[in-house]
């Protein structure tokens, strides 16, 4: 078996240099813009008052604006316009409930921001109708992570009001592409906050980069790069930048997928003839072939318990989703509705499976409930692909085309909330929503 460790090699330093240059020059290019297209019918009204700044100079980040935008994007909240606010309280003493009842705000969030060696955000949530404080919290962290601290405030408020853990303090991987007609496109593997802010280019290449995916602890990523003129699977540590080429086989090297325990990488190789699913032990690099079929077997996705994997196969003539159970070695077909079901991703509950589903020649994102076996089509655009579910299972991101450009879009798992995230410039594709980030 061939694999290379590139840490410290010339190639790594070249890429690191490239990344440093890109951070300075093209960061803004890959930046996403949010356009909310559909929310719930009766969103909860909440007033997010600008947080008071207790520090020298101007406030490093408008934390309330970050929270306001997060709650708006969830589609379940209708934040009050700042210009409608009759006062700007920052402590409980300054809160006059009648001011908020008057503008029909059901909830009120206030806060205070200060910086010593770290940024400190104190915040309080009030129920306007019941006239009580329902939650208070503190977030601490480095000043350059101010936006992430704001997202953590959003997570807590979201959980308090919906009962579901928030997934705002997470990150996205995606591939941004600048077209060069008649030449080679630019591919930029990009990392951003869950709202598309603070994009960082992790890898730029004139050869295709695709299939980005996260390690279960959110510290590492894996992807396929053609930089060697052939496809190869790489893993990369986000903290140290260390990069390792995991495969260099003849034929396909595609679809990396980390096992939930982080020890194994499922992947697709065609070195033995047809595309099959293999498991690589990430320590020994030993490979185990788990499918043996002359048809296409691809797009492995682990079930959250790590006991089985879903994959796409056209062994029945057309691509459909199958499940392979590791203990028994048994393969079962899961999808029967429609002539094209592919690239499954499983929610953390192990129940909701999202996939690409074709109807009347159009490709949509559909959700299959493994308990009821009900398939629900969630999107109405026509070249939808690459679904990726938020770690809390509430929303999913996918790639689609809008106005002739590749954009990212999001939809809630009940189909009720939708928003688009086009790039300011160029095409974006293959979103991969991170797991909850370990601190």
């Amino acid at each position: 078996m061939k694999w290379l460790v590139w840490t410290g090699s010339k190639k790594v330093s070249t890429i690191a240099l490239l990344v440093a240059l890109l951070l300075a020059t093209v960061g803004a290019r890959a930046e996403l813009v949010i356009e909310i297209t559909q929310g719930v019918d009766n969103p909860t009204a909440i007033a997010v008052v600008p947080f008071a700044w207790h520090g020298a100079g101007s406030v490093p980040e408008d934390i309330a604006a970050v929270v306001d935008s997060d709650l708006t994007r969830s589609g379940q909240f209708a934040p009050v316009d700042r210009s409608d606010m009759l006062g700007l309280p920052s402590t409980e003493k300054e809160v006059f409930y009648r001011d908020w009842r008057a503008i029909q705000s059901e909830y009120l969030l206030i806060g205070r921001v200060s910086v010593t060696d770290q940024m400190r955000i104190e915040y309080e949530l009030f129920d306007v109708l019941r006239q009580t404080r329902v939650y208070s919290g503190v977030e601490l962290g480095p000043v350059n992570e101010a936006r992430m601290l704001g997202h953590r405030v959003s997570d807590k408020i979201y959980q308090q009001l919906t009962g579901i853990r928030g997934a705002f303090a997470t990150r996205l991987l995606y591939v941004a592409v600048t077209r060069v007609p008649g030449g080679k496109d630019y591919f930029r593997l990009t990392l951003a906050d869950s709202d598309g802010a603070r994009p960082i280019v992790l890898l730029e290449s004139r050869e295709p980069v695709l299939a980005p995916t996260w390690s279960p602890d959110g510290r590492e990523i894996a992807y396929v790069s053609f930089e060697t003129s052939r496809p190869a699977i790489f893993r990369q540590n986000l903290q140290t930048g260390a990069r390792e080429q995991l495969t260099n086989f003849r034929g396909l090297n595609s679809s990396p997928s980390w096992s939930p325990d982080g020890k194994t990488m499922a992947m697709v190789l065609s070195k033995d003839g047809s595309p099959d699913i293999y498991l690589m032990d990430l320590v020994s690099k030993k490979l185990t072939r788990i499918t043996r079929h002359y048809a296409i077997d691809t797009e492995p996705a682990w079930m959250p318990d790590g006991k089985s994997l879903l994959f796409t196969s056209d062994r029945g003539g057309r691509p459909q989703i199958y499940r392979y159970t590791l203990a028994s070695g048994q393969t079962d077909r899961l999808t029967y509705e429609g002539s094209y079901n592919a690239r499954a991703r499983v929610a953390q509950d192990g129940r909701n499976v999202v996939m690409v589903h074709q109807i009347n020649g159009r490709f949509h994102i559909a959700l299959l409930d493994l308990v009821t076996n009900r398939l629900q089509v969630l999107t109405s655009t026509e070249l939808d692909e690459s679904p990726s579910i938020a770690p809390n299972g509430s929303m999913l991101l996918y790639a689609t085309k809008y106005g002739g450009r590749g954009i990212l879009a999001a939809v809630s798992v009940d189909g009720g909330v939708k928003f688009r995230l086009p790039a300011r410039d160029g095409d974006v594709r293959e979103p991969a929503w991170s797991p909850y980030m370990s601190r």
């Binding site: 695709l210 299939a211 797009e299 070249l383």
Partner: protein, 174 residues
């Protein structure tokens, strides 16, 4: 008869000399003729060789022209890796040329944008391998051929719709 032996000697010498001269002149003539014949044969062979080489070169040029005429891109139907008759005919031109040399080739398989990226990666390989297998059946050894799939990652035509898609479902021989 003292003079006789002398005269006899002289005569003997004379005859011998005449004989030798005659002999040597015969040898030279034969050698010259042989050399001329050999040279003529060599020239003829060389001419034949040159003619053959010229013919072979002309044949290679003809095959190269045939390859240039058909191009190096073979197109496929939607969701299919079967060679179309047009693609097979184009490929035959390449195979004929490849039989005159020992060049290695790279077959790059591509798909249109419909369907998922990783499934298309596999479909692109299936197309490249269909070309490889057709070449193998025509006597081009597999070790000379490498299949690399790019899936839908490197379209020729960026737009949607069949007029663009049909240009992107292809195998490029490089």
């Amino acid at each position: 008869m003292k003079h006789l032996p002398v005269a006899g000697k002289a005569l003997t010498l004379l005859f011998a000399a005449i004989f030798l001269v005659a002999c040597s002149s015969t040898d030279t003539k034969e050698a010259e003729e042989a050399a001329a014949a050999a040279a003529a044969a060599a020239t003829a062979a060389q001419a034949a060789e040159q003619a053959a080489a010229a013919e072979a070169a002309a044949e290679v040029t003809r095959l190269q022209d045939a390859v240039a005429a058909v191009g190096n891109v073979f197109y496929f139907e939607f969701d299919s890796s079967a060679l179309t008759p047009a693609a097979a005919a184009s490929l035959d031109a390449h195979i004929a040329l490849l039989k005159t040399n020992d060049r290695s080739v790279r077959l790059e398989g591509h798909t249109d944008e419909r369907g998922t990226r990783d499934y298309n990666m596999a479909l692109g390989e299936r197309r490249a391998n269909a070309v490889r297998d057709y070449m193998a059946a025509s006597g081009i050894a597999n070790y000379r051929v490498e299949s690399v799939s790019y899936g839908e990652e490197q379209p020729v035509a960026y737009g949607s719709g069949e007029s663009n898609w049909s240009q992107n479902r292809r195998v490029e021989l490089k």
